[in-house]
Subunit: 120 residues, 2 copies
């Protein structure tokens, strides 16, 4: 089997750097395909295809304006990601705790050193 389809979920859609760039651009507001292609400096078909993927997972919405297609972000579709990440907040906390311990150790050592220095 090959890798899971990119159109399957937000995780895969967002795994592609170029698509993250597109989302970042759209975070600033609605944009046409051409505008995106220009600002990201990539060929139009490339942008269209990525937008297709993003649209399939509902990360962006489209609106027609004359012969232009305006895309806008739908950040809500990103939710599964932070939701999954929540499980690891604790990991960060643990990492934080470890750092905290190291820090305290270092500080304690420095204190001792200071006292020693003051005593001599």
């Amino acid at each position: 089997m090959a890798r899971a389809s990119t159109t399957k979920d937000a995780f895969n859609a967002v795994a592609e750097p170029r698509r993250r760039e597109i989302l970042d651009a759209l975070a600033g507001g609605e944009h046409s395909v051409g505008e995106l292609a220009q600002s990201l400096r990539v060929a139009q078909p490339v942008v269209s295809k990525h937008l297709r993927v993003l649209r399939d997972v509902n990360l962006v919405a489209r609106r027609d304006q004359g012969r232009r297609r305006l895309y806008r972000l739908n950040g809500a579709a990103l939710r599964p990601i932070p939701e999954w990440l929540r499980r690891y907040e604790e990991s960060w906390s643990q990492a934080f705790d470890r750092m905290e311990m190291v820090l305290q150790t270092v500080e304690a050592q420095e204190e001792r050193q200071d006292r020693q220095g003051a005593e001599t």
Copy 2:
């Protein structure tokens, strides 16, 4: 060109469902390859390969114990993801707040660490 290498960053590593399962399992604590294979009901080589990817992006760490290899989670490596997501915070606000707090805490901690390092 094909999709960017999976070993490139946390985004890609986490895009694979099976790898997320592995991380979820490791969130509960250290586990050997065999244990993971059994609980996820997949062949051992499959697990080994996914662990390889996770290890390449530093999401897991390995420790040898006899002929077993114990893997443990390194949640800190996930950070680039919530950091990127921050930009989309407003999209789902509430659920995000907690993660935001954790992030800021970690950052503050790292700043202190940096200053500490600079002083020495």
